[in-house]
């Protein structure tokens, strides 16, 4: 299992921010697998997330830049109002096409694109939210061999998003936020 994953994508919407903070508080220093966070957020309170998260973790946190190569040990955040795609050479592309599930960035888009590139080297995690975004992407990623974790709907502040995902596909693990952190720590 060690070092077998090359990227961890975490998608979330309403009620997911506190979960993310809790997860990253528990990730041990020096953790090497890069993270990509795709969160629905309001364009107007934009860059605060990068700052808030960097207080919770020793890993470098940055909003991605277009064509940037994915680096080990970093936490990347999708910019507001752009879709994010992953290229075969493990760099990011931005895309300003139509919203998907009323969302840009859309979690579906990131799960699909990253699973096409990383296949069974990808871990997808879907958290709390009030929207069905992410469900179709998880189903797709699962077919590509990626590992799927869904936050336990019983714990999620808004259970709709994890529930939608579980209706569409089978998660490899359904975990609460503390166990998500522990699971990630066991990976590298």
């Amino acid at each position: 299992m060690k070092d077998s994953y090359k990227l961890i994508v975490i998608g979330g919407s309403a009620g997911s921010l506190q979960v993310i903070f809790r997860i990253f508080k528990n990730i041990r220093p020096g953790f090497s697998i890069p993270f990509l966070l795709v969160l629905h957020r309001n364009v107007s309170y934009d860059s605060a997330l990068e700052q808030l998260l960097s207080f919770k973790t020793s890993m470098p946190v940055k909003e991605i830049e277009e064509k940037e190569k994915i680096d080990k040990g970093k936490i990347y955040i999708c910019p507001a109002d752009y879709h994010v795609l992953i290229e075969n050479d493990h760099s990011f592309s931005l895309d300003y096409s139509e919203k998907i599930n009323f969302s840009r960035p859309s979690i579906d888009v990131v799960f699909k694109s990253s699973s096409e590139v990383y296949k069974n080297k990808l871990l997808c995690i879907l958290l709390s939210g009030a929207n069905a975004d992410g469900a179709e992407g998880l189903r797709y990623a699962k077919e590509k061999g990626s590992l799927i974790i869904v936050q336990d709907p019983a714990e999620a502040e808004v259970s709709y998003m994890p529930e939608q995902a579980l209706e569409l596909t089978t998660a490899d693990h359904i975990l609460n936020s503390r166990d998500i952190g522990a699971f990630i720590n066991s990976l590298a």
Binding site: E66, Y82, E87, D95, S97
Partner: protein, 273 residues
């Protein structure tokens, strides 16, 4: 059930489009191009990759439709209002010192940005001595830009953007609403020239004091981005301005040393050399 078009099949399509129609998408960002092709495949209900390929190769009209669907034509008036506020307050006064003003909107899609700029020029009493060129590789979207007709249900958002950009007029005074359509005043169209131009293969066609190219470079690979920036550099007057999308930059490009970024937050550069 999952439609999967392989990377090899994408290469085949890229080749066909280049050979058959002279459209070179080979240096477009692959992930984005592939996603658009998959979307087209599902939307038009093809049964196999071979069927899609055949249709594109043998049917020019379908190819035009495919280009429209592959290229991203999402745009709005006064998108990023604070960007337009900077144009209004910092760039327009400089343009005003020129006897004649030429502006190029590269990759203008359905023209919403061109109309936004024309409104700013009108409000500064500069429209009469301005010419706005809008270009796109896709003739179908340019037809819509030329007509100056937009969905009326978008006007509320555009009006909000306009006010945030520092607009003081009644936004609705610039168009006539009829049923679900809003037709913009012809004083604007008289100052606009729309024409096809492919940033990948066409040359510089004039010189400008201001070039807009927002959210186009993100779809290009690095090498092509560099070529297109050179094209803009060749098309820009000394002390002219280049305006890019909010996540695009001149940083690391070969022309970067000739330019100075205007404001930290907005992606506007001035040509100094």
């Amino acid at each position: 059930m999952e439609v999967i078009i392989t990377d090899e099949e994408i290469e085949v399509l890229l080749d066909d489009m280049l050979q058959q129609y002279g459209y070179d998408f080979t240096e477009y960002s692959k992930a984005s191009f592939k996603r658009r092709i998959q979307r087209l495949f599902i939307m038009d209900k093809f049964s196999s990759f071979a069927a899609l390929r055949y249709r594109i190769k043998t049917d020019q009209d379908y190819f035009n439709h495919a280009v429209t669907e592959i290229s991203v034509n999402v745009t709005e008036m006064f998108r990023d209002p604070l960007f337009y506020k900077v144009i209004r307050e910092k760039i327009i006064p400089v343009l005003a010192t020129h006897p004649f003003i030429r502006i190029w909107h590269a990759g203008c899609a359905t023209g919403e940005e061109v109309y936004s700029m024309a409104i700013l020029l009108k409000e500064a009493n500069l429209l009469e001595r301005s010419l706005l060129y809008g270009t796109d590789l896709n003739p179908l979207v340019l037809d819509r830009a030329r007509n100056g007709i937009f969905q009326v249900n978008q006007m509320q958002q555009y009006s909000k953007n306009y006010i945030l950009s520092g607009g003081l007029q009644e936004f609705s005074s610039y168009y006539t609403a009829n049923y679900n359509l809003a037709k913009f005043n012809e004083i604007f169209q008289r100052k606009m020239i729309f024409s096809t131009h492919n940033l990948v293969s066409d040359f510089s066609f004039n010189s400008f004091q201001l070039i807009f190219c927002r959210n186009v470079l993100i779809y290009f690979e690095k090498n092509l981005q560099g070529k297109v920036l050179d094209l803009f550099d060749n098309s820009l007057d000394m002390l002219g301005f280049l305006a890019l999308g909010s996540k695009e930059s001149l940083r690391f490009s070969s022309i970067a040393h000739k330019y100075k970024q205007l404001e930290d937050r907005e992606k506007i550069w001035r040509k100094l050399k």
